[in-house]
Amino acid sequence: MRTTRVIWYLPLMAGMALMVAPGCSKKAVQSGGDAQSSQAGAASADKGTGGGGVGSNFPDTTLSNRDAGAAGGLRGLDAVGGGKSPSEERVTNGTMMAKLDPSQSGRQMDAIRSEQAAADAAGLRDVFFAYDSFAISEEGRQALSRNAEWIKANAGANLKIEGHCDERGTSAYNLVLGEKRAKAVRNYLVELGVSASRVGVVSYGKERPFCKERDEACYAQNRRGHVVVKTGK
């Protein structure tokens, strides 16, 4: 019954989804971004990461024998024949939740606001992509030519390219697609003579949409290489 409700509740949405689908299915087939390292096998933890790596102090997560009991903490029903009462079992919330520490909250948002303000001041332009694609359009090239001129004229500035996607597709794959878009933007800037070291990339997949409506106009806004001025570290 609930199935029926969910399926029939929004036929309008279905219609819209169908209308925008044709012509948007251009497939991206080659890899985006950097040349692939051919090295296989063991990768050392600190290789080429500029300080990043693998944590050394986190607890190991091995499942101990203690945890693997078939009954999962159940004690079984008590025999209650002959008018006997069951024994008393105290119930506590098995997964205790810690108190939140909001002290760091909002630090990233502050940084993002200042990057955005700097980009607005510089008049930087974003690049927009077709559905499922990380190919840069002619319009995108023009926007990037202008961005390239700005960064060449501002020797102290660095850029950050945020890759964004529309809500269609999986959260995980859209993070990869967003990174491909961001790297495609960076690669084109490098082709225009901008030093790669001055252009950082980050993918937000479909997790930070510019527009939250469910229509193609909104989706098109979200398939974006958003160009901001890197501030701070």
């Binding site: 509740y9 989804a17 692939q36 296989a40 009462s85 008393e88 506590t92 948002m109 999986t170 995980a172």
Partner: protein
């Protein structure tokens, strides 16, 4: 005990017979969920309110019934002739009549304030009558604060499942997920039925794709706390203590701990594009698993821990691949459609759930057997379905969908029945991960 063994034998015999009879059938056959007559009919007489708060009996009864229904081990049957007046002397003719009317098991209980307890703890008693032996085969008595009232019903339901199947049940399991909080996305954990949501992170920014440790103590997830990398962090639910497991440069996403907890599989773009790696959580040694000029992501462990399913766009659009846990023996699993992603290997090993794009360009859930022989589309209709995750008993999936507009979390049986929405608050809930059984 004798009864349980007997029932188990009967069930496996039935399952065996069905398997043979229907091996050529075109519809879905799932051992755990399919034949109705495999389910044990249970009549719930009720949970009597014996001096507790007004809501107590009704809430526990509702919770118990929902748990029994969702167990898929039992089926709820009406026992209209039975009331609390009948539970005083057991067995009695009214019980026998209910059994003749189709109920194999009868359940009842009462809940109230714990006697003489100044902290106003509540108590719940539950009893189980088995029609086969015509006797009360067991009971439980729980006490605790009123905040864990529902947990008492969950525990009792799981005891029922355990008694009749030897499995721990899912009524006490939890679901971790991501919820939009202003401009941020934070981790939450709720009971498997959507009650008791609790916030786990408060970074004020993005936290994505949580997965459980096999002992349920930790969540692993992608955090954007660090300015220049997207790290894989680990948080201990009991304490809130947090560690960074992986902070390679670039995007570190889709972490998944192996069933024994010894390895963390994840995707990282630090060597150029997204590749799969395996981190030994004991030695902290890192091993690269894939080498390909396209994106590899979303590893999901087989319950044996010997194989991984993952998504890769090495064939154009994303497709599901399988490989051994050391990265060898890679083979493509999905060939239908141009977009298959987010694989989740069932805890019983017999299915891999994933997001499939239909010919109508809708993102729905599909199931495929690991040998590639059988494929089933599980969900239909509008909305983007994402992030399937199996219940530990392999009978249900939880996933996110925009079917009702904004992204919310839904549950569905592995045979496609009983779709139900789990989250109703918040503007955007996504990336559910079902905990292991406790």
């Amino acid at each position: 005990m004798r009864l349980r063994t007997c029932l188990l034998l009967t069930c496996s015999a039935l399952v065996g017979a069905i398997g043979i009879l229907e091996s050529g059938a075109t519809d879905v056959f799932l051992e755990a969920t399919r034949p109705d007559f495999q389910k044990i009919p249970v009549g719930v007489i009720g949970i009597q309110n014996a001096g507790g708060p007004e809501w107590l009996g009704g809430r526990l009864e509702e919770g118990l019934k929902s748990d029994i229904r969702r167990s898929l081990v039992f089926t709820l049957v009406d026992v209209p002739g039975l009331g609390f007046k009948d539970v005083g002397t057991v067995p009695n003719p009214a019980f026998k009549q209910a059994v003749e009317g189709g109920a194999s098991v009868l359940v009842w209980g009462k809940a109230g304030l714990k006697e003489g307890d100044k902290d106003a703890d509540i108590s719940m008693e539950g009893f189980v009558y088995d029609g086969g032996s015509n006797e009360v085969v067991g009971g439980k008595r729980y006490v605790g604060s009123s905040s864990v009232a529902r947990l008492m019903a969950h525990r009792f339901a799981d005891e029922l499942v355990f008694r009749y199947t030897g499995e721990p049940g899912i009524a006490r399991t939890k679901i971790a997920y991501v919820s939009e909080q202003g401009a941020a996305r934070e981790l939450f954990v709720m009971d498997y039925d959507g009650y008791e949501p609790r916030q786990v992170t408060s970074d004020g920014f993005l936290n994505l794709m949580p997965r459980w440790s096999p002992d349920r103590r930790f969540l692993v997830f992608t955090a954007y706390r660090n300015r220049n990398t997207q790290d894989i962090d680990m948080i201990e639910l009991a304490t809130g203590k947090r560690w960074t497991m992986v902070s390679l440069s670039g995007l570190n996403i889709t972490p998944a701990l192996s069933p024994d907890g010894n390895f963390l599989a994840f995707a990282s773009s630090y060597e150029g594009n997204s590749e799969l790696y395996r981190l030994d959580t004991r030695t902290k040694a890192l091993q690269r698993l894939t080498t390909h000029a396209s994106g590899d992501l979303s590893p999901s462990w087989a319950p044996s821990g010997r194989e991984l399913a993952f998504a890769s766009d090495r064939s154009g659009g994303p497709q599901i691949f399988l490989m051994s846990a050391d990265g060898s023996n890679v083979r493509r699993l999905t060939f239908e459609g141009d977009y298959n992603a987010a694989p989740a290997w069932s805890p019983r090993g017999n299915w891999i759930a994933y997001v499939c794009r239909t010919p109508k360009k809708e993102y729905k859930l599909c199931l495929m057997t690991p040998d590639g022989q059988r494929r089933v589309q599980l969900t239909t209709g509008p909305g983007v379905d994402d992030s399937p995750s199996w219940s530990p008993d392999g009978r249900h999936l939880v996933f996110s969908s925009t079917a009702d507009g904004k992204s919310q979390i839904y549950m569905i049986n592995a045979d496609g029945k009983d779709l139900e929405r789990v989250t109703f608050t918040g503007v955007h809930n996504s990336a559910p991960a079902w905990s292991p059984a406790s």
